[in-house]
């Protein structure tokens, strides 16, 4: 039965350059981006990495799917900006920029909030690109060639497949509880549904294990794959570029660490910082109210 489900991150079939690319170079970029994102806190470097990721995603034609994924991170990132600005994760003393009433915004907070935010997105962009443009089977076939055990691949892909199933199961169980007069609001309402969902999931996993055994999952010897993944010159080049960029950026960033530390440098006019925090706070509040309102109407 073809059901419409809110799946957060899945492969989007297209025919772009990135879709045709071998999974391994994409994996190199994904890992490289995370390394680079954690090597520095400089907002400008992170911004460049972030924009590069966005360009790749747009080039792959998966911008809408990316937007849906990132919507989940949106409220968290707004709260990062606000809370960091008010209470930076930095050693004191902090440099105040502006204050409204009991709140004071600090330069270190703006720096820390922005860099955490950009780091999250810059680091995850390429991983999301990998997931959105690579058929899971291709990824696992490719990894197997590099010696990753078949069982491990299978474990990961089976768990990923379980997510939409559990989601659907949760929805059925929730509607069964509502049919028995339960008011479906808030987290408390979800608790009675946990038991059936988890009991069902455990049962399903046990059955899966048995059905795998009965289809010779544990047999010795190399496993073959229906899908074939070939690497061409462009794949090698793209992978090599990924490695070179990662190494070069990481080395440079570490070498010029002192210059790139902008925690005390007012890199934006004060009014921009204040506006940023105010907009983030207001949007965060509006978002929370909207969510709460939607839940109460269910």
């Amino acid at each position: 039965m073809a059901q419409h489900l809110p799946i957060p991150v899945v492969f989007v079939p297209r025919n772009s350059f990135f879709h045709r690319l071998h999974p391994v170079p994409k994996l190199i970029w994904a890992v490289g981006a995370i390394v680079m994102a954690f090597a520095t806190r400089n907002p400008l470097v992170l911004l460049v990495l972030f924009v590069l990721g966005i360009l790749f995603i747009a080039g792959a034609g998966v911008m809408r799917a990316y937007g849906r994924v990132m919507l989940v991170l949106f409220p968290i990132s707004l709260s990062l900006i606000v809370f960091q600005a008010l209470a930076p994760a930095f050693p004191q003393p902090w440099t105040p920029i502006a204050g409204f009433g009991p709140f004071t915004i600090y330069q270190e907070g703006i720096y820390s909030g922005l860099s955490l935010l950009l780091r999250t997105f810059a680091g995850s962009n390429f991983a999301v690109l990998l997931v959105l443009t690579t058929h899971p089977a291709d990824l696992f076939t490719a990894l197997q060639k590099f010696g990753v055990p078949h069982e491990l691949n299978f474990m990961v892909s089976a768990s990923l497949q379980l997510i939409p199933i559990v989601q659907r199961e949760f929805q059925i169980v929730l509607s069964a509880q509502r049919s028995r007069g339960m008011r479906a609001t808030g987290f408390g309402a979800a608790i009675p549904s946990m038991v059936p969902v988890f009991a069902g999931t455990i049962e399903r996993v046990q059955q899966l294990a048995m059905s795998l055994e009965s289809r010779a999952f544990g047999s010795k010897g190399a496993k073959t794959s229906l899908r074939e993944v070939r690497a061409s010159a462009k794949d090698v080049i793209f992978g090599l570029i990924g490695i070179v960029v990662t190494v070069a950026v990481t080395v440079l960033v570490l070498q010029y660490q002192a210059q790139l530390d902008w925690s005390k440098t007012p890199f934006m006019p004060d009014w921009v910082s204040v506006a940023l925090v105010a907009v983030a706070a207001l949007t965060f509040i509006a978002f929370t109210i909207a969510l709460w309102w939607r839940a109460s109407r269910e």
Partner: protein, 274 residues
Amino acid sequence: MTTPPIVCDALGHEYAGGVLALKPTTLTIQPGEVLGVVGQNGSGKTTLVKHFNGLLRPTSGRLLINGEDARPRPVHDLARHVGYVFQNPNHQLFATTVEAELRFGPTNLGLTPETVAERVQQATSFFGIEKLLTSHPYRLAFPLRKLVAMASVYAMGPDVFVLDEPTTGQDHAGSNMVRKLIERLREQGKTVVIVSHDMALIAEVADRVLALWAAEVIASGSPRAIFAEDRVMQRTKLYPPQITQFARRWAPASTRPLPLTVAEAAAAVLGEER
């Protein structure tokens, strides 16, 4: 004249993503009626009955519950009129004892502790599950678990029962139990809507059968009339109960009423010989 508990007024449903699962359907369910809903997989049976307690909302047309538009009423409110028993009892049961399970529904309706206790007591004796009250629902065998799921809905005291595939996965004894329960609900004047692929069950208990095909109600009538209509049977790829098929081959041009059960067929044979 009593108000019909459920009225569909050109009710249609299209799922997000554009699947038209139910074309506009107009239907009145009378109080005390036992209605069977049949049709192939994916013909829209579950989609239709999920509207009756608000689990789905019409994307076109209207639904009236006891004569009132159901639109503004949430599921937990409609639940006091329409009880929905899910196909899989595991989706419904979560408490650690059967008794707690039975209390859950009436408590949600905001009844007083005395009334809740009374409802639990009524459901227990109606379903004859006195011995199970302290058991863990997950430890029970499947037919008993199904029984507990039905009892947990009964305890809420709805006038209408929707049963989705009540006999699927049940052995002979289990489905006989379901039959008896439906008969007893009928005696109590309850309205029962049964979605099922079990034609023998439908033939035996339903007052009226609704045949769905490709998101549309293509026939509605007594089981005897529906099972005699070759056009409907061929289109829906359904088969009447075996005894009915047998009787039709054995006396094709029969003018007698078509037998739906073995007892009716036996009576017909004996009547002829006499």
